[in-house]
């Protein structure tokens, strides 16, 4: 089976600083991949390269290739709008829009040109159900999303992301601002979603990586030190630095 995502010799710079160095990684279809590593090691920069969110930073430069389904996403003929529809993103801090719960989920559908009210309503319901939020909000869809709890807001952001039917979902430490119960709910969701989506999750929490992902890559100082099956990486790390990190000797 071909890889969904192939990254070859990727280097990223912000001005003079060399953030990502010679990144090579292939990511499988419909599977969860965790990116672990200490703060500032380039994990977030890496996933923001995958949906071209770094384009908004004026000093951003890159070389190397990022292929999604065999297509270089930095090709001049690639429409960023289409790319971001295909590669959704959930942020570290829940960031619902100050709109109603319904409008938050409908937002992506509407900006992509869907006008049919019935279809929008159906897709909103489906997305909220997939995000395991429907039962909690079905009676207050017209209320502002800002009134939800942090965990509910993050599940709403996931619902908002899957509403536009992406193929890849990037999650940038989606649970770091949440309590343990909300974290469990999000992890349960990731387990359900992985059958239909390719998920790449950045996490500081190594237990979380072992719980949710099949593959893990360990980032350090902008390089991938080691990557492979999660079980193997945690049980029998090859590199000394990986072992030091997962046993808590630094980071």
């Amino acid at each position: 089976m071909p890889y969904r995502l192939e990254v070859e010799n990727l280097n990223v710079y912000f001005g003079e600083s060399h953030i990502l160095k010679d990144i090579n990684i292939n990511i499988n279809n419909n599977m969860v991949t965790s990116l672990i590593g200490p703060s500032g090691c380039g994990k977030s920069t890496f996933i923001r390269t995958l949906n071209r969110m770094n384009d908004t930073i004026p000093t951003f430069k890159k070389d190397g290739t990022v292929l999604i389904d065999g297509k270089d996403i930095y090709d001049p003929d690639v429409d960023v709008v289409d790319l971001r529809k295909k590669v959704g993103m959930v942020f570290q801090k829940p960031n619902p829009f100050p709109k109603s719960i319904f409008d938050n989920v409908a937002y992506g559908l509407r900006i992509h040109g869907l006008n049919d009210k019935d279809i929008i309503a159906k897709k909103v319901e489906k997305s909220l159900k997939e995000a395991a939020l429907w039962d909690e909000v079905k009676d207050k869809l017209e209320m502002s999303a800002m009134g939800l709890s942090g965990g509910q807001q993050q599940r709403l952001c996931i619902a908002r992301t899957i509403a536009v039917e992406p193929e890849v979902i990037l999650m940038d430490e989606p649970c770091s601002a949440l309590d343990p119960i909300s974290t469990t709910k999000i992890e349960d969701q990731i387990h359900k979603l992985k059958n239909d989506y390719t998920i790449i999750i950045v996490t500081h929490n190594m237990q979380q990586a072992t719980r949710v992902s099949k593959y893990t890559a360990f980032f350090l100082h902008g390089e991938i030190v080691e990557s492979g099956l999660t079980d193997k990486l945690f049980m029998e790390p090859v590199d000394k630095r990986t072992e030091d990190y997962i046993t808590g000797r630094f980071g």
Partner: protein
């Protein structure tokens, strides 16, 4: 070490000073508004509000002047709001930091601090004479628009910039274009601040005298066309007082002006409050 004043006492003293300043401000406000109302309310009745002026305003009512005020302010806002908000969107979202942007900011600051009589003179030379709009609601409204625009622009810019970056990131990550993000996420979130700017601009237009002195004329009838002259309340008040036509009516006019501004401010604050509550789910 010998302290002259202990931290506890200095805290008490400063708190008292700050409290005093606050109270003094409120006291001044109440004093001025109270003085105007005490002197103005006795002449206010339905005939005063809805009647026509007699003998240059020495008797009768002030309806034409109320209409002039509303009309001129409306023209000013219709022109100044899109320009101000549009400029604010450009500065906050598109411009970045360059020489042009600095020039625009500096220019709008200078514009906001130019004495209003200078605007009046410019309005007279440019709108009344050069563009040949004559003494009219249009000339007065455009002059007031020039004055209100920098206020609207600066306030709206701050409002747009204070919308959290995470909103626009969330929108861009869903594949929205920059304009979709601005129009559908950033502007709705900035509406309360933008409205505040429009209200500040409007207050400046409603209460302005010098800028309309040379531009709007001094008609005793209510303007109908935009090219008709008018006489907004502050100008009428100025005439009543300086030409000694009627001091009681001057106070009455001032009271109407104050009440008008109070109503506008209170109603918009209430509406903005409701909007914010709905948006933020509180």
């Amino acid at each position: 070490m010998n302290r002259v004043i202990s931290p506890k006492n200095s805290q008490k003293i400063m708190k008292t000073i700050f409290w005093g300043s606050g109270i003094f401000t409120v006291f001044l406000l109440i004093l001025i508004i109270g003085y105007i109302l005490v002197n103005g309310l006795p002449v206010i009745n339905l005939n005063f509000i809805f009647g026509q002026p007699i003998d240059n305003g020495a008797a009768g009512g002030i309806l034409p002047f109320i209409i002039s005020t509303v009309y001129v302010t409306f023209v000013a806002l219709v022109v100044a709001t899109p320009l101000g908000v549009g400029g604010a969107i450009y500065l906050a979202e598109y411009a970045g930091e360059n020489a042009l942007v600095k020039a625009i900011r500096f220019g709008s600051e200078i514009l906001a601090s130019i004495p209003s009589i200078v605007f009046g003179l410019f309005g007279f030379a440019f709108f009344v004479v050069y563009l040949n709009f004559g003494f009219s609601v249009l000339s007065g409204g455009l002059t007031l628009a020039l004055m209100a625009m920098p206020t609207i622009l600066r306030t709206a810019e701050v409002a747009i910039e204070s919308v959290p970056k995470s909103y626009s990131e969330g929108s861009m990550a869903l594949g929205a274009s920059k304009w979709q993000t601005i129009y559908q996420v950033i502007l709705p979130a900035a509406v309360p601040g933008i409205i505040t700017g429009i209200i500040l601009g409007m207050a400046r237009a409603v209460e302005e005298t010098a800028a309309i002195l040379y531009t709007v004329g001094a008609a005793m009838q209510a303007p109908v066309s935009i090219f008709d002259p008018g006489q907004p309340l502050p100008l009428h008040l100025y005439t009543l007082a300086t030409e000694g036509i009627s001091m009681p009516f001057a106070y009455g006019t001032a009271a109407i002006l104050v009440i008008l501004i109070l109503i506008i401010t209170i109603v918009t604050n209430a509406l903005v409050d409701r909007y914010t509550k709905k948006m933020m789910g509180r």
